[in-house]
Symmetry: C2
C-alpha cells in the first residue's frame, strides 16, 4: 500500500444492516412491495397500458423455448439483470420465499439462454448471431454482461445460490479469452462502462483474482492509441447500430471517456453515467492495487465533478445531448439532464472513495444525491419515474420548446428505455450498505438512519449498533453501542457540511468535537460498554445558498437548503404566477414547519418574499415601466417531492 | 374595399429615393462595393478559402454548357436569384454599366438553363430530372422560382430589361398550369413560402392579374384538408429529401404553417422565415383584394409576434430546432435562434402592414429589426455574417454545450447555406423603399434618414423632399419640402415609440403634436411652399427597459435602449469577469457619449453598476456566503456592433 491511499475501509455489508428508519423504511418497503413486483410484471409484458418490455421473451427465444424476434433496445437484457440484482439485495435483508422462487426461475431461464462457450446476450444470439463483439461502441455487450455479473454476486450473497454466479464466471472466463492485448485477442473495451465495476464484484464474490485483473485490463486499455473504438468503426465501414447510414465521423471518444488514458483524464466529460461507472471501478481498483496514479485520477475527477459540474441537488450531466457533462460551471437549470442513473453512479463513486479515504465530502455528496435527485426520481407510487431531474420547469416550455422536450413536468410511467427505475430499485434495496465502513478498529458512520447493525472490527471485535435518527426533518441522532466482545474502539461520526454547530455527547457528556474532528469525522474512542449512548445534535436551519460567481445560471439567485434537503418552490403553493416574479427577501427569517398533509408529511419552509404582480405591470412586451412588488410569503417544499401535485412551474434557484 | 382596410398606401419606390444618410449610406455603399462583388465571386467559386458555391456551375450544367453534377443545397439556385435581385435594387439608385453587364450575363445563363416548358430549377433538371413537383415539402422548388421572380421584377424595374421578367412569366404560366384544384392539377403549395409574395411582385411588374390570382391560390390552398404535404409524403412512401430512410412521421405541418387554413391561424408557429414571408404575401393580397378575413389574420399574427414572440432586438424565432417560433413569452436569450433572414422577413411584413394601415407600431418594429438585428447580422467588412443573433453569449458554452453550438460568438464567413448574406444585401440595397408611403394626399414618413425623394400624390401633385437626420446618435431631423406643383397636402410624420416628448416645428413654429397625432403619426397639413422646413426633435435618453412578467428569461433584468438602438454589454469593456456578476443600478443616471474610436464611431452608454467580484467569493460551488459587490461603471455599446472585437461574453439583459 502506497502513501496516499489509506488502509482501505470495508463496507459493513447489507446483510448485517437492518434499516428501520422512519423516512427510509418507506422507500425500502416501496421498492420491495411495489417496485420489484411491478418490474417483474413489466419484464413479463403483463402490465396493461405499458409498452411490452419483451425482456423475458428475448431470453426465452434465445434459449430456444419460444419462437420470435428480438425486440427492444440492444441493452434490454440489463433490465432483467438489474431486477435480479435488486431482488438479491432485498432478499438479503428481507427473506421472501415466493420472490426467491420467481427469481430462481428467471435465473434458470437466463442460464438456459447462455451459449455453450459462456456467451450471453439475447440481442446477438437472436438477432445478430454472427456479429458478436463487432460493435462495442454502440451495442452494450459488455455492459449487459456486467449487469448480470452484479446480479449474480448480489444473489449469491443473499441466498448462497451459485447457479447464476457460476454462469457469470463462465461468461467472464470467455470474455477474458476474447479480450486482451495478446495474439488473436480484441484489444477493446465497452462503449458503456459497467463491466469494470461488475468484475470487481465478481472478484469479491468468488475471490478469483483473474476477474480483478480483467477489470484492470479494461481500465488500462481505455484511451490507448490507436483507439479501439475508431478502428472498430473503420472495420464496420462507418456503420453503427443507431443509424442505417454509415457515419462519416468516427465515434466521439470523449463521450465514451476513451479520448485519453484514464490516468491522464483531468475533467469529467461525456456521457455522465458511463463516466461515474468508470470512476467507481477506478476507485475500486485503486483500493485493491494501491495504484496511486489511478487514485490521483479519481481524486481529480471527483473534484472536478463536485466543485465544478454538479447541481446543488447532486445531479450531474448538464446537457441531454449525449446525456453528458459539458464544461466547468455550465449548469443550466432548465435545459439540464441530471439523469437519475447518473446520480446513482455518483453515489457508487462516492462510496468507493469513502473506502479509500475517510473524508466527509464524499459522504456529503452521497447524501446530497440520495436525498434529492435519487428519491426525486421516483413517485410515491413506485410506478412513475423521472429520468431527467431539472432545477427549473415551465411546463409550457417542456411542450413548446424543443430544447426542453426532455424535461418532463410530471413523472412519466415505465419507459421503453427503462434504465432509471431498476437502478433506483437496486440502490434503495441495498441502502444499508452505504451507512458504515470499518477500518481497523474504527467504525465510520457516514449516513444517519434508524436501524441496527452488527459490525466486525479488526482483531475479532464485534459490536451491535442501534441507531435512531430524526433526519431529514430534525437533526437528532442517537446511537446505542453494544459491544459483543468488549474492547476499546473508535466510532467516527460524520459531521455533515450542512451543519455549522454539531454537538456530540456520550452518555450525556459533551464531546469536544473540535478536538477530535479530522476530515469531517468526529473520532470518539473509548472502551464501549453495553448500552453506551452517543447522541448527535445537528441543528438544521433553513439556509439561503448561493453559487460560485462563475456559475452564471444562478447569478442573483438563491436556493434554500435545510439539513440534507434542497428545497423547491412550486407554482401550486405560490400564487400561480411565473415563479420568476418571486423575489426572496434575505432580511427576514424563514420558518420551517412540518406539514403532515403534504405527500406523506414533510417539513416545508416559508418566508418573506416580494411578488411582482402581473396586474401591476403597465407595459407591453417591453417597457421602461418598473415592476411593482407586493409582500408575500413563499412556500418551499423538499425538492424530492416536486411534481407530485399535477403540472406546474418549479424552481430551485430563486431571485434574491 | 371593405371597412377595416384603409385606402391602401403605396410605397415611394426605390428609384425615387436617394439615401445620403451619414449612418446608412455606409451600409448601402458597403453592399454595393463589397457585398455584391464578393457574392458574385463566391457564386462563381472564385473566393479562396470559401467552400465552393457551385451555384453558377449548376446553371451551366443545366444549360448543357458544362459537364458535371449538381452540387450544393436543393435551394442553391436562390443564391443566384437573390444576388440578381440585390443588383437590380443597386442599379436602380446607382447605375453601374460593368455590374449591369455581369448581371446580364448571369441572366442570359439563367434563361439558357430554363426548360422549353418554362420550368427552371437546376437541382431537378440536373440531378432528379424525373422528380419535378414530387417533394414540395422539402425541395424548395417554388421557393427558388419565387426568388427568381423577385429578381426579375427588381431587374426589370431598374433597367427596363424584360429578358428575365419574360422568362419568369413563362415559368409562372407553367406553374399556373401545374398547380390548382382543377382536374389533373396538383392541389399543392411549397414547403417554404416565398413564391406567394414573389407572384405579387410579378403582378406589380407586369400588371398580369393571373399572377396575383396564382399567389391567392397558394395562400388559400395552404392548410386545406386533406393536407397536400401529408398526401405527398404518403405517395413518396415516407421518403424525404434530407434522409435516405423513410420517415415514420408525416411532415410537421405547423413547421410549414400548413396546419390550418391561413385565415384561421391565431399565433405565429413553425419556421420563422417561412412564416413572415407568408404573412407578407397575405398582407399584399389583403391590400389588393380588400379581403377582411385575410387582413384580420395578418393583424392577429402581427400582434402575436410583436407582443409575445419578438426579442427586443427585433429578432424572431426562439429555437434553432426548425429555426422556429416556440410559444408566447418563450424568449430565451442564450438558446435563441433569431435568424437574420427572419428579421428581414419581419421587415417585409411590417412594410406591407404599413401600406394597409398607417399605424406607427409597424414602423417601430421595422426600425427595431433594421437598426438592431439586421445590421448586427453583417460585420463591418461585408464578408462575415451572423445567421443567429443571440442576446446572451458565453463563448465557452457555444463550444462546450451542444444546445448552444448554433450560437456563434463572432461572425463566421460565407456559409455553404448562404441564405442570410444575400438577404441582407437585397434589403439594404432597397432600403429607400421603406421610408415613405403615399396615400391620397398624404405623404407618410416612416423612417428618418438623410436623403432626397420625389413623391407623387393623388391629383397629379408632386413634391420634392430633402431630409436630414442625425439618427441614430441624436434625434434631430429636418425635412425641406419643395412642391413642384403647389397645393395643400399632408405630411404624416411618425413619432417613434421610443421618444416620449417629440417636438415638431414648421418653419420654426411649434406644431401642437397632441392635436394632430393619430395612430402614432403627426399629420401636418398645409399649403406647402418651396423651402418649407419641418423639424423634428426626438430627444433620446438612455433608458432601462424591462420585460413583461410572463417573459421569464428576463425577470429581474433590464436592457438598455437609446432611440432606436438596443445596447449590449461586452466582456471586453467590463472587466473580463462573468457579465452575470454585473448589476445595473437604477438609482443613478446613465451617460451617453460618442466614441469616435469605436468601430467607426458610435454612441456608448456608461452608468453605475455593482460588480460581484469573484475574489470576494468565499465559498466553493455552493455556499451560504453572500456575494460582495464593488461599485463600477459599466459600458454598453450598440447591439449591432457586438462581436466585432474578438470572442467574449455579451449580454443584452442585465441584472438590475
Amino acid at each position: 500500500m502506497k502513501a496516499g491511499i489509506q488502509t482501505t475501509g470495508k463496507p459493513v455489508q447489507l446483510e448485517h444492516v437492518k434499516i428501520t428508519d422512519e423516512f427510509w423504511s418507506d422507500y425500502v418497503k416501496l421498492v420491495r412491495e411495489v417496485v420489484i413486483p411491478y418490474q417483474y410484471e413489466t419484464l413479463h409484458d403483463r402490465v396493461p397500458g405499458v409498452e411490452p418490455s419483451h425482456a423475458i421473451r428475448n431470453f426465452r427465444i434465445a434459449a430456444g423455448e419460444e419462437q420470435g424476434e428480438f425486440y427492444g433496445f440492444v441493452f434490454q437484457d440489463s433490465d432483467v439483470a438489474k431486477w435480479l440484482e435488486a431482488v438479491g439485495y432485498s432478499l438479503a435483508v428481507h427473506p421472501d420465499p415466493g420472490l426467491e422462487k420467481r427469481a430462481d426461475e428467471v435465473i434458470d431461464l437466463v442460464v438456459r439462454a447462455q451459449q455453450p462457450d459462456g456467451y450471453l446476450n439475447t440481442f446477438f444470439t437472436v438477432k445478430e448471431p454472427g456479429k458478436r463483439w463487432t460493435n462495442l461502441t454502440d451495442c452494450h455487450e459488455l455492459y449487459c454482461a456486467g449487469h448480470m455479473m452484479e446480479a449474480a454476486a448480489a444473489y449469491y450473497r443473499a441466498t448462497g445460490k451459485r447457479k447464476l454466479l457460476d454462469a457469470m464466471c463462465r461468461f467472464a472466463d470467455h470474455i477474458a479469452e476474447v479480450f486482451g492485448t495478446g495474439e488473436g485477442q480484441l484489444p477493446g473495451y465497452d462503449g458503456h462502462q459497467e463491466i469494470e465495476l461488475a468484475l470487481v464484484k465478481l472478484y469479491q464474490a468468488t475471490g478469483v483474482e483473474k476477474y480483478l485483473k480483467l477489470a484492470q485490463y479494461f481500465i488500462d486499455q481505455r484511451g490507448a492509441e490507436p483507439s479501439f473504438l475508431t478502428e472498430e468503426w473503420k472495420k464496420r465501414g462507418g456503420l453503427g447500430h443507431w443509424s442505417p447510414v454509415p457515419s462519416k465521423n468516427p465515434p466521439n471518444l470523449s463521450y465514451h471517456q476513451a479520448h485519453q488514458p484514464v490516468r491522464e483524464q483531468e475533467t469529467a466529460v461525456g456521457h455522465a453515467v458511463r463516466a461515474v461507472y468508470m470512476y467507481t471501478a477506478m476507485a475500486d481498483l485503486a483500493a485493491y492495487t494501491g495504484d496511486e496514479s489511478l487514485f490521483g485520477a479519481c481524486r481529480r475527477l471527483w473534484d472536478n465533478i463536485v466543485h465544478k459540474q454538479m447541481y446543488i441537488t447532486g445531479g450531474i450531466g448538464s446537457t441531454h445531448h449525449g446525456e453528458a457533462f459539458t464544461f466547468d460551471y455550465d449548469l443550466p437549470n432548465d435545459t439540464v439532464y441530471a439523469e437519475t442513473c447518473a446520480s446513482i453512479g455518483l453515489i457508487f463513486f462516492a462510496s468507493r472513495m469513502l473506502r479509500l479515504e475517510a473524508r466527509s465530502e464524499y459522504a456529503d455528496v452521497l447524501e446530497r444525491a440520495l436525498y434529492n435527485t435519487v428519491i426525486a426520481g421516483m413517485a410515491r407510487d413506485g410506478r412513475h419515474f423521472f429520468y431527467v431531474n431539472p432545477l427549473e420547469v415551465w411546463p409550457k416550455a417542456s411542450r413548446g420548446n424543443p430544447g426542453k422536450h426532455h424535461v418532463k413536468p410530471v413523472r412519466p410511467g415505465w419507459f421503453s428505455c427503462a434504465c432509471c427505475p431498476p437502478n433506483v430499485a437496486r440502490l434503495l434495496s441495498s441502502l444499508g450498505e452505504y451507512l458504515f465502513t470499518v477500518k481497523e478498529k474504527t467504525l465510520f458512520v457516514h449516513l444517519y438512519m434508524g436501524g441496527e447493525a452488527e459490525v466486525e472490527l479488526d482483531g475479532g471485535m464485534t459490536a451491535q449498533l442501534r441507531m435512531a435518527s430524526s433526519l431529514p426533518w430534525q437533526g437528532k441522532v442517537s446511537l446505542e453501542v453494544t459491544p459483543v466482545s468488549a474492547d476499546n474502539f473508535t466510532l467516527a461520526l460524520r459531521l455533515p457540511a450542512w451543519c455549522s454547530a454539531p454537538q456530540v455527547t456520550v452518555n450525556g457528556e459533551t464531546v469536544d468535537v473540535g478536538a477530535c474532528v479530522r476530515d469531517g469525522y468526529a473520532y470518539v474512542e473509548r472502551v464501549w460498554s453495553p448500552g453506551d449512548r452517543v447522541e448527535l445534535d445537528l441543528p438544521m436551519l433553513p439556509q439561503l445558498v448561493r453559487s460560485h460567481p462563475q456559475l452564471r445560471a444562478n447569478a442573483g439567485r438563491v436556493a434554500i437548503q435545510r439539513g440534507p434537503l434542497v428545497y423547491a418552490v412550486e407554482e401550486v403553493d405560490n400564487g400561480g404566477g411565473p415563479l420568476s416574479s418571486l423575489v426572496i427577501r434575505k432580511d427576514a427569517p424563514m420558518e420551517a414547519r412540518f406539514d403532515a398533509a403534504l405527500l406523506g408529511g414533510a417539513v416545508v419552509i416559508e418566508g418573506p418574499a416580494v411578488l411582482e404582480e402581473e396586474s401591476g405591470w403597465s407595459g407591453g412586451l417591453y417597457s421602461a415601466s418598473e415592476k411593482k412588488g407586493v409582500p408575500v410569503k413563499f412556500k418551499a417544499i423538499p425538492y424530492y417531492l416536486w411534481g407530485n401535485r399535477g403540472e406546474g412551474e418549479m424552481a430551485v434557484w430563486l431571485r434574491e
